[in-house]
């Protein structure tokens, strides 16, 4: 008796009691589907995060100076020196100063707009192109000029696309617009990367509360060397402050790694919870198979009388359980794909975030493998019971 025939036998038995088979599979269907959707969701979130970080630049490092009392500080010249000394690793540096005070254009306020003080290198670092006018220049910074470069969103929304030469107010101070950046995002919404104002950092520092520069953005020559770069800067800053708590250096790629491992952790935990339903489904299959063995005692007796060896009976029941479970797995995979696309639509509409729920081949293969494996595992006990039935008793059973 060939294995293929056992499969055919199993399929015809499953088909003979469709409703029961389907209900038996349901636990597996739900479990597999849940695993696929959860892993797909995690995958989508990861892609989303990576895209967002890529927009910010994974080659950037951020340095925050917390300072140590008032006695020691680091000047921007010192920071520029650190970069110059490590030209093999570090490319550009720009102080970044967040400015308080809302942006006022004409009589309307642009409250979601981010205002930063940066150096002339910043646009090159962040890959911003200048669409109209010019970018910031060294003289703007040296002379603390009240000029600014604005994002495309502000240009379109408030100036009808002709912002260069116009004026806007940040807090109480009036700035002249000297340039417009090219569009960065697809949608160009309020609060997006395109909704921004950049001013010379020296000007920004003068108008900020502290008057000092506490934050720097740097770019590295080689992304994969980000870790080394972080320690170079940390060493240099330790020489200045002699206190590890006085500064903080973080790299975007490091943050991305941290975010990714957090997402992975959440996905693993959720998958484990979903996997519990696979086990519950497996127990359901075992239960039904035990019932089925009892119901089919007579059949088993007849088959044994006609010469079925124990391993044939065993194979028949194990395969039946495995096929039931695997069919459930296939249905779960189908349902998982359907729910993934539904979830993608829902997330896109509800959260306005472009998270695509992408089931991975690995997750699908794993879910299918586990479901078939569960069938074999939980089919074994009932199959053993069937195989060991005494043919005389089984024949007499009604």
């Amino acid at each position: 008796m060939k294995l293929w025939e056992s499969f055919q036998l199993a399929l015809s038995n499953i088909w003979a009691s469709k409703m029961r088979s389907f209900l038996t599979m349901l636990g597996i269907v739900i479990g597999v589907c849940a695993v696929i959707v959860i892993v797909g969701l995690g995958n989508g979130m990861q892609t989303y995060m990576e895209d967002s970080f890529a927009e910010m630049g994974t080659n950037t490092l951020t340095v925050n100076i917390i300072g140590r009392g008032s006695s020691r500080s680091v000047s921007e010249e010192q920071m520029y020196e650190i970069v110059a000394e490590n030209g093999d690793y570090l490319e550009y540096i720009s102080p970044t100063v967040s400015m308080s005070g809302s942006v006022k254009i004409g009589s309307s306020y642009a409250s979601a707009t981010s205002v930063s003080g940066v150096s002339e290198d910043y646009f090159a670092m962040k890959d911003y192109g200048v669409a109209q006018g010019r970018g910031l220049q060294y003289v703007d910074i040296a002379d603390r000029k009240k000029v600014c470069v604005i994002g495309q969103y502000l240009n379109q929304a408030y100036f009808g696309g002709n912002a260069v030469g116009e004026k806007l107010k940040i807090g109480e101070n009036q700035f002249t617009i000297v340039g417009v950046l090219s569009q960065k995002t697809d949608t160009m919404e309020e609060g997006s990367t395109d909704d921004c104002v950049f001013v010379p950092y020296s000007t920004a520092a003068r108008f900020s509360f502290t008057g000092t520069i506490n934050s720097y953005t740097l770019t590295v020559v080689d992304e994969t060397q980000a870790e080394t770069c972080v320690s170079i800067i940390e060493d240099a800053l330790y020489d200045v402050f002699e206190d590890e708590d006085a500064y903080m250096v973080s790299s975007m790629s490091e943050m991305l790694d941290t975010m990714n491992s957090m997402i992975n952790m959440v996905v693993y935990i959720l998958s484990a919870i979903a996997a519990i339903s696979l086990v519950v489904g497996g127990i359901g299959i075992m239960n039904i198979m035990l019932v089925s063995v009892t119901e089919r005692t007579k059949e088993i007796g007849i088959r044994k009388a006609l010469g079925a060896k124990e391993r044939y009976i065993m194979t028949q029941f194990v395969i039946e359980a495995a096929v039931t479970s695997a069919l459930g797995g296939v249905m779960g995979i189908g349902l998982g794909y359907v729910l993934s696309s539904v979830a993608t639509t829902v997330i896109t509409v509800m959260l306005e975030a472009a998270i695509t729920v992408t089931p991975t081949v690995g997750a699908v293969a794993l879910a299918f493998g586990i479901s078939a494996g569960i069938g074999i595992l939980f089919g074994y006990l009932p199959a053993k019971k069937a195989a060991l039935l005494n043919p005389i008793d089984a024949l007499r059973y009604d």
Binding site: M1, E5, S12, N13, A16, K298, E299, G301, I302, R303, K304, A305, L306, G307, A308, K309, E310, R311, Y312, P391, I392, L395
Partner: protein, 245 residues
């Protein structure tokens, strides 16, 4: 030539609580190739035990059972299954066809376990069903057939593997007397064609259709001989045990 079926001092003992039931009590007998034997007895006479042992569904507690010269008592369960498959064809009182399979598929089952290819199985099963006159019912399910037809299907199933022994356990028990006679005639035909047929029954009128009767009582053989001898159908109780000795 040695006997096809040989019981040497076969005993089968069951323990029911404290009491010991000797279902087979030192039975010795031989059945030759090509015989038509009826094993007769009232319920509790040990004929079912006898049939289970002949059918390799059970092994003796003591004594030796040789089937075609092989000692069945020494076999493990898988070897017994193989012997049942190759050497024996069962016909049951309740037909015992598998309800979900068609008649043709039912007849194929013994061949499937014998490892015969699908194509050959189909051919041989069809031939066997033609032989019992069911060539037009191949695709029917058992419950779509009458009792007599189902029993003929099960005869086809018993035949299909060309077994050494056809073992019929009360084959007419669930049938009316007319179809019962038909089934017996079929067994007689099989015998005439050279098959060894062992018939187990409690019914004397069925038993006398065989050539030879082995009568059991309380697990012992009380008569073994010509089915047409007058003492074959008389119960030993009336005849007197001394009379037989």
């Amino acid at each position: 030539m040695s006997a096809l079926i040989e019981f040497q001092d076969v005993c089968k003992t069951y323990y029911m609580g404290d009491s010991v039931v000797r279902a087979a009590d030192h039975i010795s007998m031989q059945i030759q190739q090509g015989e038509f034997v009826a094993i007769v007895g009232q319920s509790g006479s040990g004929k079912s035990t006898c049939m289970n042992i002949i059918g390799c569904l059970d092994v003796p507690t003591s004594g030796t059972y040789l089937l075609g010269g092989q000692d069945v008592g020494a076999m493990d369960r898988d070897q017994l299954a193989e012997v049942r498959n190759r050497m024996l064809g069962f016909i049951f009182q309740q037909y015992n066809l598998l309800p979900k399979l068609s008649i043709l598929e039912n007849v194929e089952v013994p061949l499937m376990y014998a490892g015969v290819s699908k194509k050959e199985r189909r051919e041989r099963a069809k031939l066997a069903l033609e032989l019992v006159g069911l060539a037009d019912k191949l695709e029917h399910k058992p419950n779509e057939l009458s009792g007599g037809q189902q029993q003929r299907a099960s005869i086809a199933r018993a035949l299909v593997g060309e077994p050494a022994v056809i073992l019929a356990d009360e084959p007419t028990g669930a049938l009316d007397s007319h179809t019962g006679r038909e089934v017996i005639r079929m067994l007689q035909k099989l015998h005439a064609a050279g098959n060894t047929v062992v018939l187990i029954t409690h019914d004397n009128s069925i038993a006398v259709q065989a050539e030879r009767i082995i009568r059991l009582e309380d697990g012992r053989v009380v008569y073994d001989g010509d089915a047409h001898a007058p003492e074959a159908v008389v119960t030993a109780g009336l005849f007197g045990k001394e009379g037989l000795a």
